[in-house]
Symmetry: C2
Subunit: 337 residues, 2 copies
């Protein structure tokens, strides 16, 4: 099997497993309840299709880890489904918390069905995720299932802690770079780290290997978020599908913004006045780039990527899946969208 074939096979299986999990909810009288979740996952409704589904990065990462350790990656499918559902639960609630009307060019669940159904749809997705991971028991011993389920729950606790910080920072006059790392460790890196660990746990790797995967996933997740921050200010709108102005205009606390506040008085003065308009965003982005903030952000992303690759190399992932893990890590951190 070539790399392309393996990737295609895994991606297709992820999508089928997600669909099978969701379809159990499509019961008599609950068709609309099911629709909200299927719509969010990009399968039905206006604008459905490949662009709407998202990249399924997390389950892919998870299954590649399992496959890279002489195990059948299909055994880990319940974990893969679970992490993707957790990710999507957090998106549904994030959209409410950030008051976002659109995601990937489509109406968000709460803006389509109302706030109440939006909150509840997120809760349903969240529950489904934790139910899904319990299906590991079809192929794995009880203690491995419990370890996996517990790890996913601990990760969700970190998610809510990161989210708490993110919301709190909006109203805080001073946010340090240290605060920022703490926030994105919870909001982004915790779930990446869970993915890589869950992949190794399903392959029944020894604790020392799982520990390396914990560090690998965390570094990768941090790098992923820093790149996201960068694209949110300097990304090509045509590539990302988001308005590049949006991160500066939404007042989101990101690494470039914090570096800008520290290093450029003009930027800091404008930022503190608030309500940056789309018409100003290009000028401010250039101002930050000229100050060296784009380069500094890129440097942080590269440092974290290298850290991730070092941790990954230590556990010698095998075969095509191992090669794909290295390539995938590199691609995620060099992505333009």
């Amino acid at each position: 099997m070539t790399k392309t074939e393996l990737l295609q096979h895994i991606r297709q299986t992820i999508e089928e497993s997600l669909k099978a999990t969701l379809l159990e909810l499509n019961q008599n009288g609950y068709e609309e309840y099911y629709s909200m979740l299927a719509y969010h996952l990009g399968w039905i409704g206006d604008g459905s299709g490949e662009k709407a589904t998202g990249k399924r990065i997390r389950p892919l990462l998870l299954l590649l880890v399992t496959a890279a350790h002489q195990a059948d990656w299909q055994v880990a499918l319940p974990s893969a489904v679970a992490v993707e559902l957790v990710h999507n639960f957090s998106l549904i609630h994030d959209d409410i918390e950030d008051n976002s009307q659109y995601r990937r060019g489509r109406l968000t669940v709460w803006s389509k069905w109302g706030l109440s159904q939006g909150v509840n749809a997120g809760d349903a997705m969240f529950t489904l995720a934790h139910l899904a991971i319990n299906k590991l028991s079809e192929h794995l011993p009880c203690d491995v299932v419990r370890q996996s389920a517990n790890l996913l729950l601990q990760t969700c606790l970190h998610l809510t802690q990161g989210q708490f910080l993110d919301i709190a920072f909006e109203h805080r006059s001073e946010v340090s770079i240290e605060d920022y790392w703490k926030m994105i460790e919870g909001k982004t890196a915790a779930l990446f780290s869970a993915c890589t660990q869950l992949g190794a746990i399903a392959a029944q790797c020894p604790p020392s290997t799982i520990k390396y995967y914990q560090n690998y996933g965390k570094a990768l997740g941090l790098a992923f978020q820093v790149v996201d921050d960068m694209l949110g200010i300097w990304g090509d709108e045509a590539m990302t599908g988001k308005s590049t102005a949006s991160d500066l205009c939404s007042g989101k606390i990101t690494l470039p913004v914090l570096l800008g506040l520290q290093n450029n008085a003009e930027f800091a003065k404008r930022w503190r006045k608030g309500n940056i308009q789309p018409s100003e965003a290009k000028y401010l982005a250039n101002l930050l780039a000229e100050e060296g903030i784009l380069a500094a952000t890129r440097e942080e992303a590269d440092r974290l990527t290298n850290l991730a690759l070092t941790e990954l190399s230590s556990v010698h992932p095998q075969g095509i899946a191992g090669e794909l893990l290295h390539e995938f890590t590199y691609q995620l951190c060099q992505r333009q969208k």
Copy 2:
């Protein structure tokens, strides 16, 4: 030990266990995150104290079942903590979904900390619940822990299904009595049924006994909700702490309202116009009572209570705890608040 002593001991232990579980969240930098949850549970902030904590009905019910089957009820504490946290998660999100500013005379979490933190606090409480139940593993075999954790998750799925119906019914012109039973089965009865089952599972009762407890809890939960509906229209404001007008004024779909719509043309006409004012509520409540709707609602509650007591008698709960279960069932269904 007398009944009063046992009850007091159990109640105190529930509160201590809940506090110990929550305190793990009170970490450096996350004090406010912890505060939201501790405030909601009635321990801190304006109006904290016994009136604010709620009655802890669900964990009490659960532990009495365990105690009534020759098992140490302390073994079931993780389940008891978990069901109370699930109940409170659902309250935090319900208050958002119902746009309720007050609960038990205190500001709700979302109205105190804002919508975003409110949604996130509910997510945190939810996660904590499912983490808590995994601590059953200290005293019980792995498969019993998994069975318990899965049951709680299935229950949460039912909760979101019931909640979906409740929200959807607000915009539906016709809701049948059958729809109503389906909704409260998810919203209320599923968690009661989980409590009684989890108590029996922790006592390692045979499947046939657990099945009776499933039916008992479901009937009790349905009865509890019907009584709640009754108190929401005819309850004594001084006793319930809620405005008795509130259920009619909020447009909530309850059993008395559905019976009223079927049987009284004047009520139906006024209801369909919407926006019932507090000044009209007393007149409409009397109108429904004169039509026999209060008596019919009471009759339904009694029918369900008897069904619950019959199921309970079938499994012969033992000792003081067994007696307390019978009394508790009766009290919950005859309560005035």
